[in-house]
């Protein structure tokens, strides 16, 4: 079981959520969670996509892709299609080979960063954020781990 899932459970139970584990078809931050009923091979082959408010040409191809995607190189297949209803361009990617959990996390982060680079010109940063004393509690540590990973997690 991915570690983040344990952490999440810990945090949620401790402070009062515990809802996550109760959701039918729970989609928890974690590997391959874009689909919970697919078998792992099918899940790994799914296109992961963001919609970017720009024209298809703006996205580029190959080495001209936004840097975070270009960095993943030839391992990626990329699909660029206009989004219906003037919603911009659908930017989708998947690995040609069978990706590891880390690979999928990197791809999620790369897609999100690519979108931000095009839409706002830079990647939003939150750290270092001003904060008070952080006691090393298990719940706090879990949440920290979860936050640190959050750019690479989610259902994307």
């Amino acid at each position: 079981m991915p570690k983040i899932l344990d952490s999440l459970r810990g945090a949620a139970t401790e402070a009062g959520g515990a809802l996550l584990g109760r959701l039918q078809h729970a989609r928890l931050p974690g590997v391959g969670q874009s689909s919970v009923t697919d078998d792992p091979d099918t899940a790994a082959r799914r296109w992961r996509a963001v919609t970017v408010l720009c024209s298809p040409e703006r996205i580029g191809t190959g080495a001209d892709l936004p840097a975070p995607l270009a960095a993943l190189g030839d391992r990626l297949e990329v699909r660029i299609t206009p989004a219906p209803g003037d919603k911009g361009t659908e930017l989708a990617a998947r690995f040609r080979d069978r990706p590891s959990d880390d690979d999928l996390g990197r791809l999620r982060a790369a897609l999100r960063e690519a979108k931000q680079l095009i839409e706002v010109g830079e990647v939003l940063r939150v750290d270092p954020v001003p904060h008070g004393v952080r006691e090393p509690t298990p719940q706090g540590a879990a949440l920290e781990g979860m936050t640190a990973a959050a750019g690479k997690e989610g259902v994307l």
């Binding site: 939003l124 954020v129 001003p130």
Partner: protein, 391 residues
């Protein structure tokens, strides 16, 4: 700098924390002049939104003076007195272009948590946990404001800090409920909750032309404020059968627009209240929805229920049958503040929208723990505690 932080369930402390710095080109740093408690903070404080880390700086409704600007900032400059919206929005994504600012795709740097909870991630919010971006809050001497050209509005000279402060969140939220609830001239509007948000929803409904506006609550001092400062009628739900009263007052039709401004910790006097509380404590449901239920049952056929109160997860005994068979529109949203703030500031400048009465208790930042206690327990008539971090 000094800042008020969350240090555990129902614990607030004032600590010395590092100063914020500019990290993105569109950031500004603000010297905070006024910052206030919001009902949403209570859900965080109580641990109902379990993504707070001890030491996180609280606060998302604030006003201050720009002291530093990033290279990419075009319209704000050092010295500007600005009120800032609670949600962080980029202004350029598809959602921002539709003026759905709280849904901004680029306002939450940690979208994984809310995606997992809700399927898609809404935007980020200052001082509102790691689920909403992990942004430091405004109960501090200084705060970093990203996308400042989009979310920080210059306050017109004639409008005082005391009044403009609430354009940040309470007024814009109330205005959104009345506007997106579809209030039209001649309508009857009912609002549940007489906190800052509910009062401002009622005021907005009146300014949008509603003919009759009712506010439902049980706290006498808040209901008195509604009558005196807002000019709406009141219903005390601890004394009156709300559904019967609204039916009688509306010729049997029910209100055209029902606005819920209570949220996940709603209080309920009857059997339902006990049921909800027990289920919430056993974690069988996360939220207590009693005001939402009542709003759905009260609403006229074909009317709209707008949920402004914050909910996090699952509710139970949701009257879907009433919603479906009466042909209701049920909507909700976190505040699209950037959409409403300019017109709110204009109305404030013209004296049509006054908010000073909400600030029942103004105090130094060092007194934030006391302020939160009063606000949470609703003691001494507290409606909003306002902190002045820079004196």
């Amino acid at each position: 700098m000094r800042a008020a932080t969350w240090t555990g369930v129902n614990e607030v402390s004032v600590e010395t924390v590092p100063d914020p710095q500019i990290l993105n080109e569109h950031d500004v740093i603000l010297r905070v002049r006024r910052t206030t408690t919001c009902g949403s903070d209570l859900h965080l404080l109580g641990g109902y939104i379990p993504f707070m880390r001890a030491g996180d700086v609280l606060g998302h409704e604030f006003l201050g003076e720009v002291v530093e600007v990033g290279r990419g900032v075009r319209e704000r400059k050092v010295g500007d007195r600005v009120v800032v919206n609670s949600f962080v929005a980029c202004g350029t994504c598809w959602y921002c272009r539709q003026e759905l600012y709280s849904l901004c795709d680029n306002g939450n740097p940690d979208p994984g948590i809310t995606e997992a909870l809700w399927g898609q991630s809404p935007g980020g919010c200052f001082g509102y946990s790691h689920a909403m971006g992990g942004w430091a809050g405004s109960h501090a001497e200084y705060i970093r404001v990203p996308y400042a050209d989009v979310g920080a509005f210059v306050v017109p000279d004639g409008v005082s800090d005391e009044r403009a402060l609430f354009a940040s969140d309470a007024v814009s939220t109330g205005w959104m409920g009345a506007d997106m609830g579809g209030t039209r001239p001649g309508d009857t509007v009912a609002v549940w909750g007489a906190g800052g948000v509910g009062q401002m929803a009622a005021r907005a409904a009146m300014l949008l032309g509603a003919e009759k506006v009712f506010v439902v609550d049980r706290l006498p001092e808040r209901l008195a404020q509604v009558r005196t400062h807002v000019g709406a009628e009141t219903i005390d739900y601890s004394q009156t059968d709300v559904l019967a009263e609204l039916r009688e007052q509306t010729g049997g039709r029910g209100p055209d627009v029902c606005i819920e401004a209570v949220g996940m910790e709603a209080h309920s006097p009857g059997v339902h209240g006990v049921y909800d509380q027990v289920k919430q404590q056993l974690r069988l449901q996360t939220d207590r929805p009693s005001a939402v239920r009542e709003a759905i049952l009260a609403c006229r056929k074909g009317g709209t229920v707008f949920v402004l109160g914050v909910f996090g997860g699952m509710v139970d005994k949701y009257p879907l049958g009433a919603a479906m068979n009466k042909g209701l529109t049920v909507r909700g949203a976190q505040v699209h503040g950037q959409r409403y703030t300019p017109r709110i500031l204009e109305r404030m400048a013209r004296g049509e929208l006054t908010t000073e009465h909400l600030a029942t208790h103004t105090m130094s930042l060092e007194e934030a723990p006391r302020g939160y206690r009063m606000f949470k327990d609703k003691t001494d008539g507290c409606v909003r505690a306002v902190f002045t971090p820079n004196g």
